[in-house]
Amino acid sequence: MAQKRTPEKSEQHANPPPTGAARWRNGGVVRRHTLSTGAVVLGVALLAGLLASWLLESQATARLVNRAPSLLRLSTQLVSRSPIQSQVELARLAEEFERIPLVRGCEIEVRSVLADGAVAPSSAPAMRYQSQPAATAEALRLSAPIVDAAGLAYGNMSLSFAAPEYAWWDARLWVGLTMIVLAAGVALFIFDRRAQRALRPLEQVQQNLLAYHDGVEPALDLLAVQGGAGVIADAWNTFIQGVSELRREVERFRCRDAIQSAHSGGARVSGQVLDRLPVGVVRLDERDVIVHANRAACTLLALESSAIGSPLVKSVRETEIAQTLISLRGSPCGATRDVKIKSGAATSVVRTTVLSGGTEELLLMLQDVSQTVEAEQARDEFLAHITHELRTPLTNIRAYTETLTQDFLDDEQTRRECYNVIMSETRRLTKLIEDVLSVSQIESGGGRLVRAPVRVEELLRQTMQEMQAAADAKQIKLGLKIPSKVPMVSGDKHRLHQVWTNLIGNAIKYTPEGRSVSVEVESEEGRLRTRVTDTGIGIAPEHHEKIFEKFYRVDDPGVAATEGTGLGLAITREILRMHGGSIRVESELGKGSTFVIDLPPLRSIEREAARKG
């Protein structure tokens, strides 16, 4: 029988055990050959049986021909010895003859025998017997005269013989056939065993090939015959090995072709996609030649379109930048380095991220992070300023509080002074926190305006009243000049109050004692203009713009000596911007400053609605 494959291998190939027709179809070569050979042997045996029956029949016929005359002679002698006196006796005798094997029929014609034993005269009527015609064919007919003792014929006798028939199922044939079949079976069995042993490798090869044909065995290597099954197996295994290597080679070529075709076909599509990316992508080969650079990369690195195929060092204007990018080769994926690239007067910061930093390929992603870096720097500066500004009042609060607990402080005036410093620094801290919150709200967009028609005159008078105490402390004269009809503005009353508080507060802070601060309102060219003028230390022209930046304080002893967060003017400008207004400063060092505010007036429709409301 065919060698069974190992269970592991069957599982591996998911080859179900063959059943029924499949078993026959998948059966071994030897089995099929054995069975077909058996069928041939059976046919031959049948033919041999038929031949044997024909030979037997031939021999029997020959024997009949030889024996029939003597049988007839003996029969006539028997008739002559038996005196036949009646038709009945003749018939009984004839029937006796008919029972003789192979005798098909009998025909007797005699004259009767008289009582004395003499034969009736020839004139007497003869008795006659003739058998019924038989179904079987007549093979031989013999006739002989019946003679008495004197030698006188007194009758005639014919015997017809049938040919002996041997059917193929005749028992004798069966014996012969069985012997032949048995002999053939034994021979086949021996042949089968020997053939199987010899052809076992071929069986396995056949099994493997069937499995391979059904797609169960994808790897040719697994078709090799296991177990050292001789020369056939060795030859087969060598063949399989060769085919397997050939197939691998073909696969390799096919893959290469597929990759190349995908590359050429996909390169165009991927190039289009890459060109639409907001980030730059640059691919360099092992010699630092630009294989690909998308549109964003060309813009960031100022590359010409002809740079593709050229070394990066020659393509980028600044060699240092190219070398920085190339130095990223060998860096792990995700490694970043910021590169500063000058473009005219501006300098942009390009963050380079390694996507693939192998020796064969260097793939880099480039992002313009100038805005991010600026934002980060602004945030860091903001935090540094905040920390600095918070620490200054905190230092005073801590130092003066600690002083209050000391034994050496026996002076009531000094104690009061300490208390006042603690209180003023606490207020300063509170103001700082409020300003920081205002900046934060405005910058995050959370400081939305609650707009309503605002009567500027009322708001200004209220603010002036609130600031009067501070002005009085420095004997500063506060003046307000306002026309009789002031247009209303559409704005956030609380925020506009903050604007004027900041500006009038600053004017008082930076004005020496005994001088004056004035506020003047005028309606000009459809805009409401407010001027806050002090007679203080003044601001040099180079600071006119910068004073509106967050935490900017002029580097001046007079400014340093004055409390301030550096946020007031930044907040003021932002609030006015949100109102559609503007602020600027007119100032000369030592001659005071004037802050000019412009606000758009309320539109006529809104004014009408406000009046009705």
Partner: protein
């Protein structure tokens, strides 16, 4: 008793330092910026300098760089600052002769540090 120069543009801090140091028997000279402090150091020998960093005209770092040169008698400098980048300040000064103190600081602790620095060294006492 030590002669101490204070460089601080914040009046309240300058005032409280003068008060504490004066009460503890030290002679204090005040300056509102680095340049004034440098002039004070050059004018008369001092034992200690207590300076802020952010000051107009000349900041505390520049003052520290020139103070030992201008005033050879100077033993130590205390730099008080409210800046976040104190490690950068430390990197810019002579660490063994300069102590950076972050604000807000304790005047009591500062007095202790001053007295520690002003104590005569054991080597000097043996030499005497």
């Amino acid at each position: 008793m030590a002669r101490i120069v204070i460089a601080e543009d914040q009046a309240h801090i300058r005032h409280i330092l003068m008060m504490w140091l004066g009460k503890h028997g030290h002679e204090v000279v005040e300056a509102t910026n680095g340049r004034a402090a440098l002039e004070a150091l050059a004018k008369a020998p001092a034992d200690l300098l207590i300076t802020d960093v952010n000051m107009p005209e000349m900041d505390g770092i520049a003052l520290t760089h020139r103070a030992f040169e201008v005033c050879p008698s100077l033993r130590h400098i205390f730099v008080v600052t409210s800046r976040c980048d104190q490690h950068e300040i430390v990197a810019q000064v002579e660490a063994h002769r300069v102590t950076v103190i972050p604000k807000p600081f304790s005047p009591k602790q500062l007095i202790k540090d001053v007295e520690t620095v002003c104590q005569p060294s054991p080597v000097a006492s043996i030499a005497n």
